[in-house]
């Protein structure tokens, strides 16, 4: 899980009706966060959808997405090893908190139970494993969603304005937690946001998309 990973975006160009919408060229090293900023309509979400493997068929994309040197741009989403963190925590409502954490763990993981316990302890939620996720507070849900992402052992992470719906006092704390954990895990991350503070806390390079 802690092996350093490397994400390279080479000559990415996403077109809609032959009009270029997003053009990007970047390298993200282990533990680095690249922030992509831009107003709504600038193609931020399209870029994320492309990298994660959900680009809608009306878009055309060219370029290469190299994860640890391997081009993943033709792979289906579930085989890319790219994790996603959304605006909402999106904890599966039919699973328990532990069930949510287990869901993403690779099948061969040894000691799943112990790792779930460890993860809960890491975010201060010891004993919450059997809880219904709907009974958690907003901050608790966000932390569980982060741990679920990390336990799924991704090789790179995409962040889709993950802090925009949190209360102001939680936002700062959550940013700290997320960036620290991603850094520790050595994961290259791409953050999409329109909040300048997010970019500052992320501490990495910032690319502005204009449109």
């Amino acid at each position: 899980m802690n092996a350093p990973h490397h994400l390279e975006l080479r000559d990415i160009c996403i077109r809609l009706d032959d009009q270029p919408l997003v053009e990007l060229e970047a390298e993200i090293g282990p533990g680095e966060v690249l922030t992509v900023m831009g107003p709504s309509g600038s193609g931020k979400s399209t870029l994320l959808a492309y990298l994660a493997g959900f680009l809608a068929p009306e878009f055309r994309a060219s370029g290469q997405v190299l994860l640890d040197g391997r081009d993943i741009s033709a792979l289906p989403a579930e085989r890319r090893g790219v994790g996603l963190l959304f605006q909402d925590p999106l904890l599966f409502p039919h699973l328990s908190v532990a069930g949510n954490l287990r869901f993403g763990m690779p099948r061969a993981t040894a000691d799943k139970g112990a790792r779930v316990e460890q993860a809960l302890a890491n975010i201060g939620l010891v004993g919450f494993g059997n809880r219904d996720p709907a009974t958690l507070s907003g901050g608790q849900k966000a932390r569980v969603a982060l741990m679920r992402l990390l336990l799924s052992a991704p090789c790179a992470v995409l962040l889709d304005e993950p802090f925009s719906k949190l209360d102001t006092h939680l936002r700062h704390e959550m940013r700290r937690l997320v960036f620290d954990r991603l850094h520790e895990a050595g994961l290259p991350s791409l953050l999409v946001t329109h909040d300048r503070e997010d970019a500052e806390d992320a501490g990495g390079r910032v690319i502005e998309l204009s449109h």
Partner: protein, 560 residues
């Protein structure tokens, strides 16, 4: 891959039998059916058809009852929606209407018949005080020659259908904001709804409205219970000819089936013309900009008519229940003098077989339909395509009159030597169950937040894991509801069971309808009540099971 075949399979399953059935009604209608000695084309069947006494009256009744029942149901639904303010009364009405959808047409028709008959509950309550009747009057109320009771019976069942279809379509129009905008321009609320929401809503419920026209203009079971008898409606006449022991009458029946197809097509064409006219008039009315005039009467009509229809349906069902346990019951008495379980005891031994057949056919056709629909929807999700063009094909079995093609289908099956088994009937039911199950499931699929799927995939889940462990459990409630809808549709089918079963397979519906002619109300009460109760079991499970399974998951409690 199997999934990719699902949409193709659905189209073949829906279209092929209809085309084959229509073809095999068309050929005998022109005298060609070698199995019965008709070896060359002729117009004899048509001559025989036009020589039938009362034919044009039959056709006219079918046409007008179909159009009027649709127009009245649609008007009542739109009036209600326009006047709805979210008050307690409105919510109460809505809650009353939904279970009505599950009650089979035949049971609702019997309920209405028992209510309005000369010796029915209404006459009893009004007698002798208001009417002075000491004996049931000699009036032809049920089965009146004008088909008014038939229209009434259809209306009370089509209102819930059109209401639910409208309620499903409304959210995408954001009616609250439209009305608020119009109100800020000075329009009173009900008028505002009519002027800014209704014109956008109608195109969204057009196909269901067409289905109602086709159904109402060709219905058999309701017409046998409530419709006129001398002559009966066209569809009932056709069934009589088809079932005649004299096989030569089949040529006549085939010509009748084609005529029925024409009658329904004419009804649809007339409706299409009315649509244009109504659209024109609406345009003028909206453009005139009246803001107040008629508000109160429209508002009151919006409560009154739907309440009348709904309460009638429920009192009718209650009437069935009373009749089923009635002992001695003198005429003007509102309630029986004694209650008895004897009627039930008498029917119970003969109930088991038909109930088992009904349940078997309903479960088999619904599960098949759900499997096909889920496969097609999964395929749509996985391929990322949205095949909206094929949607109207789903309505094909609902818009082509049942009697026009089922009947040719029977001929096809006879030619193929397929015996009238439960499997064949299940296949026949599938034609009508599949559209409803598919429509109700696709609604749930469309509303499912795509981010859940994206999330599961980025967590490394395969497409199959995603379906079995995320989508299906999260959609448990709507999937079960779709199953309950499918069961209800199958349980209520009369014609496919009767025709494809060649009268040899009995379900509660065929049994109840066949009792209509006998007129033993106590026995009918028992059968109709059983018929009305069976679909309810499905809905109770559909509502109860998710609550039970997800009792510990608050996030799934309020979900649709």
């Amino acid at each position: 891959m199997m999934l990719r075949l699902a949409p193709v399979l659905i189209v073949i399953l829906l279209v092929a039998p209809i085309l084959a059935g229509l073809a095999m009604a068309l050929l005998p209608a022109f005298g060609y059916l070698p199995a019965l000695g008709g070896e060359r084309l002729s117009l004899d069947p048509w001559r025989a058809l036009f020589a039938e006494p009362g034919l044009w009256r039959s056709a006219a009744i079918s046409l007008t009852s179909g159009l009027l029942a649709t127009a009245i149901s649609l008007a009542v639904v739109l009036l209600y929606l326009a006047a709805t303010t979210g008050s307690r009364l409105d919510r109460w009405i809505r809650r009353l209407v939904s279970p009505l959808l599950s009650i089979p047409h035949a049971a609702a028709a019997f309920g209405l018949a028992f209510l309005i008959a000369p010796s029915g509950l209404v006459a009893r309550l009004a007698s002798p005080g208001l009417t002075g009747w000491e004996r049931p009057p000699d009036l032809l109320i049920v089965q009146d020659p004008w088909g008014l009771s038939l229209i009434a019976g259809l209306v009370i069942k089509e209102i819930p259908f059109l209401l639910l279809m409208s309620l499903a379509a409304l959210p995408q129009l954001d009616p609250e904001r439209r009305v608020a905008m119009a109100r800020s321009l000075g329009y009173r609320p009900t008028l505002a709804w009519w002027k800014v929401v209704a014109p956008s809503l109608y195109p969204l419920i057009r196909l269901p409205v067409f289905a109602v026209i086709a159904y109402a203009s060709s219905v058999v079971d309701v017409a046998m219970i409530l419709g006129p008898t001398l002559p009966p409606t066209l569809a009932v006449s056709i069934l009589t000819w088809f079932s005649d022991p004299d096989l030569d009458k089949r040529f006549l029946a085939s010509a009748g089936a084609i005529l029925q197809f024409g009658v329904t097509a004419t009804a649809l064409a007339i409706w299409w013309g009315l649509e244009r006219l109504a659209g024109r008039l609406m345009g003028i009315w909206v453009a005139r900009g009246g803001r107040r005039l008629g508000e109160t009467s429209l508002h009151l009509a919006g409560k009154l008519w739907i309440l009348l229809a709904t309460v009638t349906a429920f009192v009718g069902i209650a009437g069935l229940a009373i009749h089923s346990v009635a002992g001695f019951w003198r005429f003007p008495d509102a309630l029986p003098g004694s209650f008895t379980a004897a009627n039930w005891a008498r029917v119970l031994p003969s109930l088991a077989g038909p109930v088992a057949s009904t349940a078997l056919i309903a479960l088999a056709s619904t599960l098949l339909a759900a499997g096909l629909a889920l496969a097609a929807l999964e395929n749509e999700q996985r391929s990322g395509r949205h095949p909206s063009r094929a949607l109207w094909l789903l309505y094909l079995p609902l818009i082509v009159p049942q009697i026009a093609f089922l009947f040719g289908l029977v001929v096809v099956m006879e030619q193929l030597g397929t015996p009238p088994t439960h499997a064949l009937i299940t296949f026949g039911h599938l034609l009508f169950v599949l559209p409803y199950v598919f429509l109700s499931l696709s609604e749930a699929y469309r509303r499912f937040d795509p981010r859940w799927s994206q999330l599961a995939l980025t967590l490394g889940a395969s497409r199959n894991t995603l379906f079995w462990r995320i989508r299906l459990p999260m959609l448990l409630a709507p999937v079960l509801t779709a199953l309950a809808v499918g069961l209800a549709v199958s349980i209520g089918q009369y014609l496919p069971t009767q025709l494809l079963g060649a009268g040899r397979v009995t379900t509660v519906t065929t049994e109840a309808v066949s009792l209509a002619a006998g007129g033993n109300r106590r026995v009918i009460g028992v059968w109709a009540l059983v018929q009305a109760g069976l679909p309810l079991v499905g809905f109770i499970i559909a509502i109860g099971l998710p609550k039970l399974l997800w009792s510990n998951r608050r996030g799934l409690q309020g979900a649709p």
